[in-house]
């Protein structure tokens, strides 16, 4: 233990290596150096009150991150060397990874860009260092995710052009527009959006139960990058909570501004997570817990404790949070039904749940699945058995804010679509909910510019005039390989061959 005594204590080390690296400018006005610090209306009186509870300094940061990387890459190598793709639970599972790679990994890159930018804008050294570390973390996440999934790209379809697809494909505009919205906000709103609302309140739902599910489905590579990324999130979450407390403690005028941002970003994150709900309930062949259960543990319980803690600052739980206990019983089914009917335009496959899976859904969603969804899914299965697999041949109406098709039902009536519209300067806009409609009304100038994929197709900005040519040429989705139904797909055939199950495979081994 003598070695420890020779070293600086954690608090001293943090002070010397972080705060003491800062200086007061002598020949430039501080406002000119940090020009974006004031325009959002947030008042900071004393940056020294900024706390980083982990007190992580750059030298320790490199040391621990290097160790994490070594562990991660050892596992990725082992996974590849042992043909890990053949020992996952079922090839259907990989479709969740396709969604992850196109929808989530590029957002890690957006987060990197966002933190790199806002870190430049704060005059407090503590905040700058925290943002710098987080920017590097986010870059690490996108790199490790791309690296981990590159192995799947060798054996499965639809993973070949994720960055291109992220910019163009209709459903990927949902996560893309979420981060575009955050990155185009001021630095304090960005931190509230990403560090607090997203990292603290919502990312657990993606990186904890879903990744545990990946492990349960034999995907050692994904669970490892997931948990490795999430180990950084523990720091990010702490930063998020400290950011909020810091801003609230600095000035009482900050409270209503921050409340508005929490309302907005909670709702946007909640909508975005519908995709994760579907990944958990429908895309994991071996189930760990339902989306509703995950929501209860990681939002209701954890978020409840958080907002109770913030009450003393005059912060209340986010607006429309009371709709969530109802919505958690529906959203995963509604999202899956949407992707099922638009599978001709996705880079992943969809399928109908088996009898066993339907029974699991009934048990997990006793108030909703049988009453509202079983009939629909059973009909689709029957159609498929008749050779008439259902695809929706029209384009869907999209919400102007979250960009998800308006698929959600009214909180008080699950037989009625939730739809709102609002006229702004002579133009009519459509929304999936009061939450999204309010976000528009607060900042209409921002959302009138929304690049809605359906409207862009109709304007002729996405290449061809029919859906097939848009999907093939503009999205770069390989028709007949990446898209459509899973059953009977080339990927399904290949999986059966791996497992020695394909009745179409010649009974005699092929000559080598």
């Amino acid at each position: 233990m003598t070695a420890n005594k020779k070293k600086l204590g954690l608090k001293d080390k943090y002070r010397y290596l972080t705060r003491d690296l800062d200086w007061e400018p002598s020949y430039q006005d501080k406002k000119d150096i940090f020009p974006h610090e004031d325009f959002e209306g947030i008042k900071i009186t004393d940056w020294d009150k900024w706390e980083d509870p982990f007190r992580l300094t750059m030298d320790s940061y490199w040391k621990y991150q290097a160790e994490k990387e070594k562990k991660l890459y050892a596992i990725l190598d082992a996974f590849a060397q042992n043909n890990g793709q053949q020992t996952i639970s079922d090839a259907r599972y990989v479709n969740a990874l396709k969604l992850f790679l196109g929808g989530i990994s590029p957002c890690e890159y957006q987060a990197f860009q966002g933190f790199a930018r806002v870190g430049r804008q704060f005059s407090g050294a503590g905040a700058r260092v925290a943002c710098q570390m987080q920017a590097i973390d986010e870059l690490r996440h996108v790199q490790t995710q791309v690296h981990a999934m590159s192995h799947y790209n060798k054996h499965f379809n639809g993973l070949h052009d994720f960055a291109h697809m992220h910019d163009r494909v209709w459903f990927l505009s949902v996560p893309k527009s979420f981060f575009d919205d955050a990155r185009t906000a001021g630095p304090f709103e960005f931190l509230t959006a990403i560090s607090f609302s997203f990292e603290y309140v919502l990312t657990n739902l993606l990186f904890v139960p879903f990744m545990s599910g990946a492990a349960y489905n034999g995907d050692m590579a994904t669970v490892t990058f997931g948990f490795s990324a999430q180990s950084d999130e523990a720091r990010h979450m702490t930063l998020g909570l400290e950011v909020i407390k810091f801003m609230l403690e600095q000035h009482e005028d900050n409270v209503p501004i921050i409340q508005g941002w929490i309302d907005k970003w909670f709702w946007r994150g909640n909508r975005l997570l519908s995709l994760v709900g579907m990944m958990m309930d429908y895309m994991l062949p071996n189930k760990v817990m339902s989306w509703a259960e995950a929501w209860e543990v990681y939002f209701e319980e954890a978020g409840g404790a958080l907002f109770k803690d913030l009450e003393r600052y005059g912060i209340r739980p986010p607006k429309y949070v009371e709709q969530c206990p109802i919505a958690k019983q529906h959203v995963s089914h509604q999202a899956w039904a949407t992707f099922y009917q638009y599978s001709q335009a996705t880079n992943f496959h969809t399928w109908m749940p088996s009898d066993e899976e339907m029974d699991w859904l009934s048990a997990k969603y006793p108030e909703t699945f049988d009453q509202y969804y079983r009939e629909r899914f059973t009909f689709w299965r029957e159609q498929q058995e008749k050779g008439e697999r259902f695809y929706n041949n029209t384009l869907p109406q999209l919400c102007q804010v979250c960009q998800i098709p308006t698929i959600f039902t009214e909180p008080d009536d699950a037989t009625q679509l939730s739809h709102r519209s609002h006229v702004h300067e002579g133009e009519r806009y459509h929304f999936c909910s009061d939450g999204c409609c309010d976000i528009f009304k607060n900042q209409p100038e921002k959302y009138v510019q929304a690049w809605l994929p359906v409207h862009q197709i109709y304007q002729g900005n996405c290449g061809g005039s029919d859906v097939e040519s848009v999907v093939r040429d503009y999205y770069n989705i390989n028709i007949g390989e990446d898209n459509f139904e899973y059953l009977g797909s080339p990927e399904h055939q290949r999986w059966l061959e791996w497992k020695g199950l394909n009745p179409a495979v010649a009974p005699l081994p092929k000559a080598s």
């Binding site: 325009f39 209306g41 949407t338 009939e375 029209t394 009625q416 679509l417 009519r428 100038e445 109709y458």
Partner: protein
Amino acid sequence: MTVNSIGPYEFPPLDLEANFHGNRLLYVGWDRHLMFCSPFALAVSPAMGFSELCEQVLRAAMAAHPDTAKVDFSASVWLLNDEPWTPDFAASLDANGLRHKDMLRLQTPGLNGLGNSAS
């Protein structure tokens, strides 16, 4: 609240009617038939007749649903932007007063979706 910005913040809406090459956006939702996950987003000529919209466009869009064969558009209930509305089937969409990005809801009393589940 509005956008706090570091400079002037004015941008034209991206979906003005002028950008649709003579077409207008029209959304049509069919109540209690959630098998179609959201209202249809259609780009239609304002000169198209309302009966043509129903019989050519909508019937094809709805064809996969077993209730569709039983739909009588002229006996249906319509809402335009959530207000009760009566179409003139012989007139064009424009003459019916349908403007860019309007939303129609089709209600077909007695047809309640697959197994009465509103699907």
